[in-house]
Amino acid sequence: MTLTPIQTFIIVCMLTVGTVITRFLPFILFKNTGSNNSYINYLGRVLPYSAIGFLVVYCLKDVNFRHYTYGIPEAVAIICITVLHYWKENTLLSIGIGTGVYMILLQIVFK
C-alpha cells in the first residue's frame, strides 16, 4: 500500500461520490421535465465517445517511444485487439487475447 488506510478510504469515498453523482444527476435534473435540455442531451450523446478516446490516451500516457521497448508491445497488442474485435466482436476474447499478447511480449520477448 502506497497510501495510508485513511487516505485510501478517502479515495474510495471520492470514487463513490463521483459515481453516485453521474448516476443520479439525470434523475434529479429531469425529475419533472423529462430530458428536454438539448445541450445535456447532446453531451450525453457525444461525451461517451470522446471519454473513451481520452481514456485510451490516458492508459498509454506512460509509453515512451524513445526508450527501450519503444511502445512496440503496446502497439502490437492494440493492433491485435482492433483486428480481432473488428472480426469477431467478442469483448472477452479481444480483451483476453490482447492482454495475453501484451504480457507475453513484455515478459518473454522484450525481457
Binding site: 434523475f27 490482447g98 504480457m103
Partner: protein, 238 residues
Amino acid sequence: MKEKSKALKAAFPHTIPVFTGFAFLGAAYGILMNSKGYGVGWTALFSSIVLAGSAQYVAISFLTSIFNPVYALLMTLLINARHLFYGISMLDRYKNTGKLKPYLIFGLCDETFSILCSVEPPEDVNKNRFMFFVTLLNHSYWVFGSVLGGLLGSVISFNIEGLDFVLTALFVVTFVGQWKTKKNHKPAIIGVVCSVVCLVIFGQSNFIIPSMITILAVLTMSRKGYTDNRELAEEKIQ
C-alpha cells in the same frame, strides 16, 4: 415470495454473459489490487460501494501515487460521464419503481444498462423486481469476481507483469465497438486528438484537466454541425 423467485428466475439467464465478464475483469482487478498491496478487504469495499469497473481500474493509479482526492473525483466524473446518458435513457423505465429506485440508479453500470434498455421481462413477471434482480445479480458478480481475484492473488504467485494492460484493452475494445456502430466518428476523434495534444503540451502528470476542458470546449463548439435529426434518432437506440 413466489413473485420474487419468479422475477429472479427470469432475470438470471440475461445476466450469464455479465457473470463471465465480471468474473474475468473482477478477478484481474482483485489480483492487481493485491499486487499493489491492497488486500481483499479493500477490493471488496471498492467493488461493493463504487461499482464502476473502469473508474476502479483507473483509481489503482491514484492508490499508487501521491494522495490526490480531487483528481480521483474528477477522473471518476469523466470516466462515468457516460452514465449521464444511461440515466437520461432510463428516466421513463425507472419512473414508477418506488422503493427500488435508488438502488436501481446506484447499480446502473454499463452491463446492467445494456440488459435493461434492451430486454423486456415476460408479462407475468413484475417488471420492477426483474430490473432489481438484474442489477443485484450483476452487482454481486462484480464483488464476487474481484474478491476471488483478491484471494487468488495472495495464494498463487505468477508473473503478472503487464496484466494491467487489461484496462487499456477494455477501453480499446470499447473504442473499436463504438467506432463500428457509430457513423459519426467526430466525438471519438475529438476525444483522442484533444487528449494527445494536451498530453504533449502539459505532460503526463498534468494533462487530465486540460484534456477535459478542451474536449468539452471542442464538443460545445462543434455542436451546431451535429443536429442532424436522423442521426440523433438512430443513436438513441444505442
